[in-house]
């Protein structure tokens, strides 16, 4: 995700921590966080994934005034026929995710995210059909230009829906 400005905000960190079922006070209670060796509210290890919220072009968020491919009156809101079309629906699946932490991410940080292309490869699926893997490396830097997190994501596109256990 390429993002010019990703402010790490306390309300967002609290909602993210709730969504992963994490009741750790260091994610929402400023007084508690100050009493720890971290000294401030920090973000959970996978929080930078929510930089999607600050990517103006993120394709898995409905855009104002545009058709959305999820259901509405019909099973999909896309009324115009598009060329090609994805096999598994929704632009492929997430196969791997890796994070290298250079320092803890803290509320108040303002990050930028820059994408670097990674490797691409193909594999034959267990139930037939090609699996196409594509890697993206994202560097998250803070307000001083210092690297905070290096994220490597691997997406997979399938020729047919990947049912449970077929990876």
């Amino acid at each position: 995700m390429a993002v010019d400005k990703f402010p790490v905000e306390s309300g967002h960190v609290m909602m993210f921590a709730r969504s992963i079922g994490d009741a750790n006070e260091i994610y929402y209670d400023e007084d508690y966080a100050k009493s720890t060796d971290q000294g401030a509210i920090i973000a959970p290890p996978t929080f930078v994934q929510s930089s999607a919220q600050f990517d103006p072009d993120y394709f898995l968020r409905p855009k104002i005034g545009e058709e959305w491919f999820g259901s509405a009156k019909g099973p999909t809101g896309i009324t115009k026929k598009k060329e090609g079309g994805g096999g598994g629906g929704g632009g492929g699946l997430h196969a791997e995710q890796h994070y290298v932490y250079h320092r803890p991410l803290t509320v108040g940080d303002v990050l930028t995210a820059e994408n670097k292309p990674g490797k691409s490869w193909e594999k034959e699926g267990r139930r037939g059909g090609k699996l196409m893997f594509n890697e993206t490396v994202t560097e998250y830097r803070d307000q001083n230009g210092e690297l905070v997190i290096t994220a490597t994501g691997v997406g997979v596109r399938t020729e047919r829906p990947a049912t449970s256990g077929d990876k």
Binding site: F16, P44, E96, S164
Partner: protein
């Protein structure tokens, strides 16, 4: 409280149940927080009729996030230097997941003591849904 080098050894394990009967609503909650509104995770009609899956399923990143909670509870806050996973099976509503850490190595790096950890999250049937590794700084 962080894990202390003096109290950890290779082969140590730690595990937590990270979700019990995963609800569609929690998946929606994760969509709202993360910003990933892919209908495959919340829209049963699209997912079954258009995409051809048996049901909506959890974001891989939700399983990774819940598994990360087990890790930070084990190693302490702000200690991870690396956390990476492969999503080995889809997680459907109703899943009960247990995440487990196994210490595989303790080593020195730039003056820090680092524990390398194997990470595995399995469902109630024993199917592995997350397979990964993590590294964490240990307190002296």
């Amino acid at each position: 409280m962080a894990l202390k080098a003096s109290e950890v050894k290779v082969g140590d394990t730690y595990q937590e149940e990270v979700c019990d009967n995963l609800s569609r609503t929690q998946i929606v909650q994760y969509a709202g927080a993360s910003g990933d509104y892919n209908p495959l995770h919340s829209d049963e009609i699209f997912t079954t009729e258009i995409a051809g899956y048996p049901s909506v399923f959890a974001h891989g990143m939700l399983s990774m996030g819940m598994t990360g909670r087990m890790l930070t509870n084990y190693v302490g806050d702000g200690r991870l230097t690396y956390y990476g996973v492969r999503f080995t099976s889809q997680v459907f509503p109703g899943a009960t997941l247990t995440a487990k850490a196994t210490v595989t190595e303790i080593r020195e790096e730039n003056g820090d003591t680092i524990a390398d950890i194997d990470v595995s999250t399995t469902d109630a049937e024993g199917v592995e849904v997350i397979k990964g590794k993590a590294s964490a700084k240990l307190d002296p």
